[in-house]
């Protein structure tokens, strides 16, 4: 039997990591909630399995998403992952065909050249060696980019790269050593025997011309084995844990498991799946506008993995969802952040290095609240029976031009509606949710739910995307919730709103909570195209910027918010539009303070475009709650 002591480190590492992967997977599986377990089981025997294989191939090996957005970075990931995969695959086949016998132990494939130094002289063998050299060259080219990226991230077209811990550095060094040591080991062996193809053969004969190749080869085979073994052993403690974890994640996601709003095994799996690629850092406006460089999702996940107190990081975020969009692993970053917000302050835990191999569950206890919140002191008004209920929201009350425009639009359309919070209402609850206070938010939700239910309305229209999102997701109501842009679009389509065309150039800013947060991209643009000339920007749909005023961030200063707002406004007004349109009262307010260009909500533009006969025909019939006098109380 072919054996040499130098293969021992590799063998230990390999069997360790295989067993480890099984143990860890079993633990994750057992930590899943019952429904999630069922989903996973069903997924295993269903379509999810095939889909996952495909996705693993496309994303974990080829890295399609990164390739699409950043070719050099994608090539680096692809050559390392896919190249290594092919090297193992074809190495195994090589050992199987040309080796001592069929079905070899893995080390024989990895160290094939050592045990078969004479292989590859001519014919098919030589062609196969050529192919193997080609694969090695492919990986080495990626490695070269990786090394350069460590020292200058700009080379791969990135502004920032992630910062590393000590253990990550050791693992990184061993990873970097693997392929150069393989190259040298194979080259020396080839040099000594006069074999090898264009890479190992050429380098081998070159080195052999002035070095004792026979003696030099052996230490490099040791180095090769040692770096592989070290990498495998350290892998669970470092960010490279993302490689095996991502496979599990892809399968779990394809089986239909989502983050939800509770911590659990799936959150944990996602936390470990981050490859620290840094794409989220580049996408984050807090980074490139406000110069805040330590709170991005990569750092949040790293902090969670290291059991640090991440409360400050969790709250210093616009919750704009731009990072969710770019994350090539598809981690649900904003939901994970929300979970950490609910947790409030957590104790940092120091665990021993051994414990870290099988860490405790990343569970967090919800914060305890004192006493019960109640809004019973608020006057309960009996809402009038109506078809459509309009909820302006607190933000719209701060931008009365929007509310006024909506009233004009309602009146002109002749819809039977009622203005639910004309005299001021109760908050929709999302600001409290964003600060992690779900229980308190629930009280508000109950209060509003009652009013809505009593009105008998079948449609609820709101002007504020923040309200819209919470009405859609967290209210359990049997009404159709529409953002006013959707509602206006509906009115136009069914012909109950006649509009003039205004000769204006307009750009549209997609608000975070309406766009990425709720998936409403098209209706606002449809409406605008009806009344004005819509210009395009470099930041359409999913790519749209955050205005900076997000209620989600309670940590940054007004100056920093203002900086983001000015940068965003400047980007959007590049083509000198007449109006910067948006569909969120908060965006409007923030952007209006950041640019000389006129900023208006779509509702205002539409109200201006209403044809005059329209206004006359449907004489305004004010909703009953509007007629009531409001006096000091």
């Amino acid at each position: 039997m072919q054996f040499d002591p130098f293969v021992i480190p590799f063998n230990i590492g390999l069997y360790f990591i295989l067993i480890y992967a099984v143990v860890r997977s079993v633990r994750w599986f057992s930590n899943l909630s019952r429904p999630d377990k069922l989903r996973l089981q069903r997924g295993f025997f269903g379509r999810a399995f095939g889909q996952s294989l495909k996705e693993i191939f496309m994303e974990s090996l080829i890295h399609r998403k990164i390739l699409k957005s950043n070719f050099r970075l994608g090539f680096m990931h692809m050559s390392l992952a896919f190249g290594w995969f092919l090297l193992i695959l074809f190495g195994t086949i090589e050992a199987d065909i040309f080796g001592e016998k069929h079905l070899n132990a893995p080390y024989k494939a990895i160290f094939f050249k050592f045990f078969n130094p004479d292989h590859g002289r001519a014919g098919f063998e030589a062609a196969y060696s050529f192919w193997m050299d080609l694969l090695l060259a492919f990986i080495l080219s990626g490695l070269l980019i990786a090394v350069i990226k460590r020292f200058s991230s700009k080379v791969v077209g990135m502004k920032k790269t992630t910062r590393l811990r000590v253990l990550d550095k050791v693992a990184l060094t061993s990873l970097w050593l693997i392929f150069p040591s393989r190259l040298l080991a194979e080259s020396f062996t080839s040099g000594a025997y006069g074999t090898g193809s264009f890479l190992t053969g050429f380098l081998g004969s070159l080195l052999a011309s002035f070095l004792p190749a026979q003696q030099m080869a052996y230490p490099f085979w040791w180095l090769y084995s040692l770096s592989l073994g070290t990498f495998f052993i350290l892998l669970p403690l470092t960010r490279y844990m993302h490689i095996p974890t991502e496979l599990f994640l892809i399968f779990a996601r394809n089986s239909g498991i989502t983050t939800g709003d509770q911590p659990g095994a799936f959150t944990e799996i996602q936390t470990y799946s981050c490859s620290s690629c840094g794409m989220c850092i580049d996408a984050c406006q807090l980074n490139f506008s406000a110069g805040i460089t330590n709170i991005q999702s990569a750092y949040l996940l790293k902090g969670i993995r290291n059991n640090e107190n991440v409360s400050d990081i969790a709250f210093n975020c616009l919750m704009c969802g731009r990072c969710d969009q770019v994350c090539p692993v598809g981690i649900e970053l904003t939901p994970i952040r929300m979970i950490r917000r609910r947790a409030g302050e957590t104790e940092p835990v120091q665990t021993s290095i051994w414990k870290k191999y099988l860490p405790d569950r990343l569970d967090i206890m919800p914060v305890k609240t004192n006493g019960k919140t109640s809004y019973s002191f608020l006057p309960v008004e009996e809402p009038a029976k109506t078809d459509v209920l309009y909820f302006a929201g607190c933000m719209t009350h701060l931008t009365p031009a929007i509310g006024n425009s909506m009233v004009r639009i309602f009146d002109a359309s002749g819809v039977n509606y009622s203005f639910m919070d004309a005299g001021g209402g109760v908050c929709c609850g999302r600001p409290l949710m964003l600060s992690g206070q779900d229980r308190e938010a629930r009280e508000l939700i109950n209060f509003n739910s009652q009013l809505i239910w009593k009105s008998g309305a079948h449609t609820l229209v709101t002007s504020c995307p923040i309200c819209y999102k919470v009405f859609k997701e967290s209210y359990y109501l049997d009404v159709e919730v529409l953002h006013h842009t959707q509602f206006i679009n509906m009115l136009i389509e069914e012909g109950s709103l006649k509009l003039n065309f205004l000769r204006k150039k307009v750009v549209y800013h997609t608000p975070c909570d309406l766009g990425r947060g709720s998936g409403v991209y098209d209706e606002p643009k449809e409406v605008l195209k009806h009344v004005v000339r819509l210009q395009n920007t470099n930041f359409e749909n999913e790519k749209s910027l955050c205005c900076g005023g997000s209620l989600g961030n309670i940590k940054i200063s007004y100056q920093e918010k203002n900086k983001i707002a000015r940068d965003t406004a400047a980007e959007l007004t590049r083509e000198n539009p007449d109006i910067l349109a948006t569909s969120c009262p908060l965006c409007k307010k923030i952007l209006a303070g950041a640019t000389e260009t006129k900023v208006a909500d779509i509702a205002e533009i539409v109200a201006e475009a209403i044809t005059v006969p329209m206004l006359k025909k449907n004489t305004p019939k004010p909703a009953s709650c509007l007629r009531k006098n409001v006096i000091v109380y």
Binding site: P400, N404, A422, G424, Y558, N562, K589, N629, V630, V632
Partner: protein, 341 residues
């Protein structure tokens, strides 16, 4: 002494500085962007603390500049200021050019554009006006709502665009509190049946006689001072204004129906000043007003030798302070030429 000095801006500061420089023997050109001299003085009717008519101050200033040594160039905006070996070359928007041995910048202030605080509804609700709109009404001796009725309840909002991080102005405009008190009394004088409510953060009654007027406003005129900021304004179907505020002394939220709301717009660096600062390289502070060379003994001196400041282009000031500040420029200008020769 045949030195030529250009004074930019013919408001209170510019006119006073020009007059006093001329008295000191300089040739003075007084450049004004508007057709008339007087600046914001033209907008006010009666002045605090003694309710003298603004026209009287204007008369004094007019007399001061009406002499041979002063050339008034109105309708002209200075856009560029360059220093060539101690001689200043000034370019106007209209394309003409002039030179000067020294320049006095008296570009004053702009009133904060109240529509920037959309929650107060200026420009959206008819009966939301600014302090300067109200002066207009005083001048006509008539305070009426848009529909011609007389207001029964009037609210006055302090600190609009001042002390407000959200609009980027951290400073206090200094005069709006006393203006509010003055205007509240004037409303009550004209309309004895009308109730007036002032919403303030704190009352800054630092000037001479201010505190006494504030006391009078409460004791004699029964004006209600409510501590707390107005958070939002809406309009009812009957065109009444509904305001929401927090009474921070009583510690409870407050909702009130008013007929008219007057916004005490703060002072901001003027646009003309901003353009000049950029083109000439004059330093500005965090509050965007011109930054003086020294807070204590150089408040008229700029970072460019030969360029001086007068009045509210450096910070909010009332008329008394503006006139003193403008006069002080003269001694700095004299020293400048003395040290050069």
């Amino acid at each position: 002494m045949n030195k030529h000095i250009v004074v930019i801006g013919a408001g209170v500061a510019g006119m006073e500085a020009a007059g006093q420089l001329s008295n000191a023997g300089f040739n003075v050109s007084l450049v004004e962007k508007d057709e008339n001299t007087g600046g914001h003085l033209n907008g006010w009717y009666k002045l605090f603390p003694d309710r003298r008519r603004s026209s009287e101050v204007k008369d004094y200033l007019d007399k001061l500049i009406n002499k041979d040594g002063i050339k008034v160039i109105s309708g002209t905006t200075i856009e560029k200021l360059v220093n060539i070996n101690g001689i200043f070359s000034l370019e106007t928007r209209e394309g003409t050019e002039m030179t000067a041995d020294a320049v006095v910048v008296a570009t004053g202030f702009d009133l904060f554009k109240s529509s920037r605080k959309e929650e107060y509804g200026y420009g959206i609700y008819d009966n939301v006006i600014t302090s300067s709109d109200l002066e207009e009404m005083f001048r006509k001796d008539k305070i009426v709502l848009v529909d011609g009725r007389v207001p029964e309840n009037v609210g006055i909002v302090h600190c609009v665009g001042s002390r407000d991080e959200k609009v980027g102005n951290l400073y206090c405009s200094k005069l709006c509190c006393i203006t509010a008190v003055k205007q509240a009394i004037e409303i009550r004088e004209l309309l004895p049946e009308t109730r007036v409510f002032c919403f303030y953060m704190d009352m800054r009654m630092g000037g001479a006689h201010y505190e006494e007027i504030y006391r009078e406003a409460q004791e004699e005129w029964g004006i209600n001072f409510i501590r707390g900021k107005v958070s939002e304004v809406s309009e009812s179907i009957r065109k009444k204004l509904i305001i929401k505020a927090e009474d921070t002394l009583a510690g409870r939220p407050l909702k009130m129906e008013l007929d008219m709301l007057v916004l005490m717009a703060g002072m901001e660096m003027s646009e003309g000043g901003r353009i000049l600062a950029k083109s000439a390289g004059l330093e500005t502070g965090e509050n965007r007003f011109f930054a003086s060379a020294d807070n204590h003994f150089g408040s008229n001196i700029s970072n460019i030798p030969g360029v001086f400041y007068a009045g509210t282009c450096t910070a909010p000031m009332n008329i008394t302070e503006t006139i003193s500040h403008a006069r002080a420029t003269v001694s700095d200008v004299l020293n400048y030429f003395k040290n050069r020769s």
